[in-house]
Subunit: 348 residues, 3 copies
């Protein structure tokens, strides 16, 4: 439980209301009751907040009052994230190194690092300080994990992978599976050994069931601050820049490059060896099959400028009627031609 005064201080906002009012939890603007705090960052949400029952609403600095207690901040969404953190229940995280953890030789475990039950850590691996390794995690040999990284249950990190600081690895994620490369030889497919590795830089996030394959040689790289949602597959030798966002069920084929600040929406794809320029947004289901210039907004299959794709999609809907229109035109032109012929024949 917090008071409004405490929450206003937490988010650095200006309170308009009773500083002593208690708040028992956070809720969405649709579901918040008198015991909750919520937020509203645009006109639609502000109207809902005004009509709703929330005990307090975090709103933009310059918004009009809504007839109930508010906390004014520059970025309500960011402030609400801090509030959510304050109300987050204690996680069932491991503490200390569990007696059942199987730890190889020459393993370094930093101060305050926890290793859960039935975790397995290979020889030569180094875990930084404050790392949380949930139960059942597998970490191979010669792996490096940076300070304050959290690895959720059943994640797998294969040999020699390097993970930075404050990285979050969701349940079931896999780093360093073999890349998918074969050489055809007489109708059979001979495996190309993948002896490279994976590097995940500081502050990245690897989503549930997301997999990052190791490089043939060199590294597959997930840049600093880059966030991968669940069910994403990053193939061998892909290079992801910094602060990239990749939504769920997207795939990047071998050696694709994605520059800083790119957003790939859900169920997108990037074909092998192409580059998506910095700051580009690929809309949902978009499939990149050529290099994309920085700062682009693209969509469709193959991905093309979004405005063009929207025009094409709109035109497609008119296609059946267009076929008929052209048929009718052909008949009218044929009719004109025969009349013209007849007129010519009749001419003196």
């Amino acid at each position: 439980m917090y008071t409004l005064a405490q929450l206003a201080e937490l988010v650095g906002g200006q309170l308009e209301g009773d500083p002593a009012q208690p708040v028992l939890g956070a809720a969405s603007v649709d579901e918040a009751g008198p015991e909750h705090i919520t937020f509203a960052s645009n006109g639609k949400a502000l109207a809902k907040a005004r009509a709703g029952r929330a005990g307090c609403v975090i709103i933009p600095q310059d918004a009009a009052g809504i007839g109930r207690p508010v906390i004014r901040v520059a970025n309500p969404r960011l402030a609400f994230a801090k509030v959510l953190e304050a109300f987050a229940p204690e996680p069932g995280a491991p503490e200390g190194v569990h007696e059942t953890a199987v730890i190889g030789s020459d393993v370094e475990i930093g101060e305050g690092t926890a290793v859960g039950a039935y975790a397995v850590i290979g020889s030569g691996t180094r875990l930084g300080r404050g790392v949380i390794v949930y139960p059942g995690v597998y970490i191979g040999r010669d792996v490096e994990i940076g300070d304050d990284t959290v690895i959720y249950p059943r994640a797998v990190i294969m040999d020699r992978v390097r993970v930075g600081r404050r990285v979050v690895i969701q349940p079931g994620a896999v780093l360093g599976s073999d890349g998918f490369g074969f050489v055809p030889e007489g109708g059979r497919h001979v495996r190309v050994p993948h002896i490279g590795t994976v590097v995940v830089e500081d502050d990245a996030e690897i989503g549930v069931h997301t997999a990052v394959a190791r490089a043939t040689v060199g590294v597959t790289r997930i840049g600093r601050g880059t966030k991968l949602d669940g069910h994403v597959y990053v193939a061998h030798n892909v290079q992801l820049g910094e602060n990239v966002i990749i939504a769920g069920m997207s795939g990047l084929a071998g050696s694709a490059r994605v520059e800083d600040g790119v957003t790939l929406a859900g169920q997108t794809g990037v074909a092998g060896h192409f580059t998506v320029g910095a700051g580009t947004v690929v809309a949902a289901r978009g499939f990149v099959a050529s290099d994309v210039a920085p700062g682009s907004l693209v969509s469709g299959f193959p991905a093309r400028p979004h405005a063009e794709n929207m025009r094409i999609l709109a035109a497609e809907r008119r296609l059946p009627e267009l076929l008929k229109a052209v048929d009718r035109l052909e008949q009218r032109v044929t009719e004109l031609e025969s009349r013209m012929l007849a007129a010519g024949a009749e001419a003196p």
Copy 2:
């Protein structure tokens, strides 16, 4: 081994054949031999059954005879499901609570519940009666699992998730991973804590590797009797109604709503915040990017009425020839115009 009499009684059907005839197993209509029972529910399958070698065939009440032993029932497919259950081999399921299971404090384990080797169960969690927890399952703290639910190996259920009765959770499924939400701040992406949870109601099924993310606040809900195939990703705050069917590799973005009785075919997608009305069918690969009225049949990208989409796809195939037809028309019109002009010039 069963006799035909026993199987007829099991499915509540009328036997036409020798009650004492032994049946050693079930098989598809294509593969069934004299020792097998199979089923045929339509004309094509009945013809195969007639031509085949099956020892017995489950057929509709009113079907013509097929020259071999039959059991007549109202719903052959449903009857065959019962037969398959009868012939199902004993699974290698755990029994009792394995000595290596790590069980937190204040955990309740119902009568007849089994917990396999190396399973980990967090504090405050309650397992109902007759629950089967396979080896290596991770269950966090304060989780509730209803009676007779089966959780296959390596599934992960994070803190505070609530699972109903008779739910089936296939291997590798994850319930309660963090939702994918970030607030941009100065080029970086700040995580929004997801402090809500996941509720899976009675008789639901969660497929292999399927993941359901926890809500930001509130719950991500999988309704009663709803069946998710494998490799499905359900994002934070999605609301799935009752008896929904979602086939493999489909994705639902944040806060999407799917009402009762909807079917989403394979590789489909629903964009965030949209509603798919009750009883709607979305065909394979369809991508819902707007609200869909109840009872619709939609397909395509973006999803639109299926008949319209079929017309568009058919028209697309004629598009290259259409371009040429329009070119030819333009030439003919130009020719007509010049002749008309000439005729006009010639006119007195």
Copy 3:
């Protein structure tokens, strides 16, 4: 470390350079330094190799010299695969049977087979010789695993699945989850028990997080030498032939058939019960919704001959302008018609 002479012998090639020159590792043609060996199999790569700094380059028999040490071979890519194997670091693989492995009754474990920590193996299961079972793997009852197969961490193999020799199963893969089949009954969905199994033949590969569902009755089959990339989902009763290649995030619906030597590129789909003929290639994102003749190259949704699909995609881009062109044509024809009418009216 190897000498050039040793590597030339390893790949069976002709060395042009100092046999005693040391090579410390392998690298891509872009990144190779004087201590590395690389390969170049086409003109573009050969130009890069000439301009680069590699200590040695594996090139085709008949290529021109590139001004640095080379090893000439028939197939540079295949030779490089052998070199990568030579330079592959020792994996952190388990040795022997770990004391924490839980092994059921009547389990056979072949000579030289290793079972890692916290692996669980069900009763009646047989592991061949030289099998490597990484930590945390779950293998059910009555499973067969052939000689020299490698099963990476956290993979799950359910009851009665049969896996051949020299198969590679990447982390998190699941074989033998239940197929997704239900019978509607009064608005509810009744599970069809899946009592068949999965067969994975010799030399196959199952990618990271890839799942293969067991058959309703009979088997779901992965043919000899067939390679599945990561995040692939193979539904119940699918039949994959030999030496098939399926790239990441592809899905095959129930009872689909894929004949020998087919390649499915990334994010493809095959609808249920259809057959993809031998040697066919389905391009990325293609969705097969009908039988495909052997030796085809198809793409698009629905998949059609690739050349036709390319013409359609090209024509789509011209669709918005086509709509305008037809509008203009209609106006011109209407103008012609009214002039023709006027001319006719003026005629005596």
